[in-house]
Amino acid sequence: MTTATVPDTRGRYGVFGGKYVPETIMFALEELEAAFDEAIQDREFNELFQRELAIYSGRPTPLTKADRLSESNGGASIYLKREDLNHTGAHKINNAIGQALLAVRMGKKKIIAETGAGQHGVAAATVAAKYGLSCKVYMGKEDIRRQSLNVFRMKLLGAEVIEVTSGSQTLKDATNEAIREWVAAVEDTFYLIGSAVGPYPYPKMVKQFQQVIGYETESQFKEVQQGKLPDAVVACVGGGSNAIGMFAPFIEKDVPLYGVEAAGMGVETAQHAATLSKGSNGVIHGSLTKLLQTSEGQITEPYSISAGLDYPGIGPEHAYLHETKRVTYEAVTDEEALHALKLLCENEGILCALESAHAVAYSLKLAKNMRKDQQVVVCLSGRGDKDVHTLMDFEEGGNKDE
C-alpha cells in the first residue's frame, strides 16, 4: 500500500479527514492552507523553523538506549526518543513553534489554543510570549484541577486560561469552546491546534511540524546501528501528534509501527479512550475520523488516567493507517502504564509523562517477544513532572486520580 497519495487535494486520507466546519471559518481554512503551502516551500521559513528548534527548543533531542530497562525485561533492546528533553518538556513545542511562526508570517497577533494535559497549552503560551502574540487557552475544569501545575505555568507565561464547564469538562469540551471562540474571532485570530486532528489542513500541518521527531530518530538510530532501521517503532496516541511525527519517515519503509491508545480501566469497560480499538466512523471537531460515540451519534466521554489521552477522536491519518493496516494500534490500561512508568523510573532514572508511559508499557510487551539482537524505539513524548499529583494520589491508594 502507499501513503504517498494522502492527503488528497480535499484533505482526505481515504474516507477520513475533510473540513466539517461552519461556513464562517471556511475562508480562514483556505487562507491557512495557502499560507502553509507557501511557507513550507520557502527555504527561509524552513531554515527559521529549524533554527528555532535548535536554539530555542534544544533540538536534536537524544536517542537514549535504555540498557537496564531492556535487560530487566529480557528480549529486544529499547531505545527512547527523548522528546521529554525539549524546552517546556514535551514534543508539543515543535508544532507550537511551527504554527506560531506561521501565524506571525500571516500577520496574526492573537492565538487561541485548547489543551488537555496542559502541555500544548504551555507550549502555546510559551511561543506566544516568545513571538509577542496574545494567547487564550481553553481548558476543561476537570483538567484544570488535575493539571494545576501546567495551569500555573501558562498564567506565568502571560496566557489567559479559560475554564470550560460544559460536557465532561475535559479536552473534547475545551476544543468545542476553542472552535466557538475561533468562529467569533476568525478575522484576526490564529487557532493553534495541538494535535494531528481538526479540519484540513491541520492534520497535515501538525505532521509537518512534528516529523522532525521521526527524521532525527531515523538518522540517530542509523548512526548507532550501522545504517540499520529499527525493528519496531512505538508511540502513544491520543489525538496522535507525537505518533504521526515519529512514524512519518518510516511509513513508506519496511518498519513495523505501533500506536498505543489508552485502555483506561480496560477496553471491555466503558472507561477507556481506545478510539481505534472501540470507535466507529464519525465527525468530530472538523474532520471525519474514528470516534467514541453512541449508535445515535452522540459523542461519549472517554476516560484515561492520562489527561492527554482522554480524547474521543483521533487524527484522520491514524484512522487511515489503521484501516489500511499499515500501523498496528493497541491499547494499554492505566495500570499497565503506571507499572511501566515506575519501571522506567527505577531502571533508567527517567520520569516520563503518563501519556508516554502507555507507549513504554506496550514496548515492554513487544520487546519481550523479540530477539535480544533486535531493537525497539519508543517515543518518550514528554516528561512526567505534570503528573506527580496524579501519581501521588495513586500511590496513596486510589486507582483514579481523585
Partner: protein, 268 residues
C-alpha cells in the same frame, strides 16, 4: 419544489422562521409550541436535534440540547415528530437542523427516506459546508428536500454567487460571526452583505443569528426577505420549562404573547 415551499416563496410578508429544539422540554411541548408558532404567523419552522457537541451553538441552545437529550430525543424521533405535526395540522415548511455526525450515524439514505415520508421539507447541517455537501445535496434533491445553505459575512464573493444560484428553500445569511446567541448590536456592513446575497439568490434571503427584539428584526426588513429567531425563543422556552411540563395551556398562552411582542407590528 413542494407546495409548502411554493407558499413560502410566494409570500409577500417579511418571513418569520423560528427555531426550537425538539424534545425541549418534552415531545408534546414541541408539538404545541410548533403549532403556536404557526398560529402566530411563522412562515417556516426550524426544528433542532439535540447533540452532545453542538459547536456552532451558544450556551442557550446548548442547554436546550441537553434538555432534549434528557428526553431521549434523537434525529430519528425528531423526523417522526414532523409527521405528528402534520397530523395535527401544521402546514408550513419544516427544516430539520442537525449536526452532520447524527445524520451519518442514522444513515443519509435512511434519513432522507424517513424525512420525505414524514413531511419534512428541508435540512440544515451547520457543520457541513458547501465543499463537503455535494453528495447530500444531490440526495436531497432526489428526495424532494431542500438542503439549506448558510452564508456568512466572511464568505467570498464568488462563493456567495454560486451558493445563491444553487440555493434551495431559502438562503440563510449569518448576521454576525460567532455562535448562535443574542447580540446587542450587529456588525457594520451587514446591509451590504445582505443586499449582495439578495442580488445573487434565486430563493428568499433570511437573516439569522442574534436577533432578539422587534427593533432588531425591523431593521433588516428591506435588506432581507425574512428573519430567523433561535436563541431568544429557546430562552423563553427555558423560562417556561416547568409550566410547559405541568400547566401547558397557560404556558402556551404566555409563549404566544411573547412571540407577538417580537414580530413587526406593521400590516401589509
Amino acid at each position: 419544489m413542494n407546495k409548502r415551499w411554493e407558499a413560502f416563496h410566494d409570500s409577500s410578508d417579511y418571513r418569520f422562521t423560528p427555531y426550537i429544539m425538539a424534545g425541549d422540554p418534552c415531545e408534546e411541548a414541541t408539538i404545541e409550541l410548533s403549532l403556536a408558532l404557526e398560529q402566530c404567523g411563522a412562515h417556516a419552522l426550524e426544528l433542532g436535534v439535540p447533540y452532545s457537541d453542538p459547536l456552532a451553538d451558544g450556551p442557550v441552545i446548548q442547554r436546550a440540547g441537553m434538555r432534549g437529550l434528557a428526553q431521549n430525543m434523537n434525529l430519528e424521533k425528531t423526523v417522526k415528530l414532523v409527521s405528528k405535526l402534520r397530523e395535527r395540522g401544521l402546514k408550513i415548511p419544516v427544516i430539520i437542523f442537525t449536526y452532520y455526525n447524527l445524520l451519518l450515524q442514522l444513515g443519509e439514505n435512511r434519513f432522507l427516506k424517513l424525512a420525505e415520508d414524514s413531511g419534512v421539507d428541508g435540512v440544515l447541517v451547520p457543520d457541513l459546508p458547501y465543499e463537503e455537501s455535494g453528495y447530500l445535496q444531490k440526495m436531497c434533491s432526489d428526495h424532494n428536500l431542500a438542503l439549506i445553505s448558510l452564508v456568512s459575512p466572511t464568505t467570498r464573493e464568488e462563493k456567495l454567487v454560486r451558493l445563491g444560484s444553487e440555493a434551495e428553500g431559502f438562503l440563510y445569511c449569518i448576521s454576525s460571526l460567532g455562535v448562535t446567541g443574542i447580540r446587542n448590536e450587529f456588525r457594520a456592513g451587514l446591509d451590504d452583505f445582505l443586499k449582495a446575497a439578495k442580488q445573487n439568490s434565486r430563493v428568499p434571503v433570511l437573516v439569522g443569528f442574534g436577533l432578539s427584539t422587534r427593533e432588531q428584526i425591523q431593521q433588516f426588513d428591506g435588506s432581507s426577505d425574512g428573519f430567523i429567531v433561535g436563541s431568544a425563543i429557546v430562552k423563553k422556552i427555558e423560562e417556561l420549562e416547568s409550566d410547559l411540563l405541568t400547566n401547558r395551556e397557560e404556558a402556551i398562552k404566555t409563549f404566544k404573547s411573547y412571540i407577538e411582542s417580537l414580530l413587526p407590528v406593521y400590516s401589509r
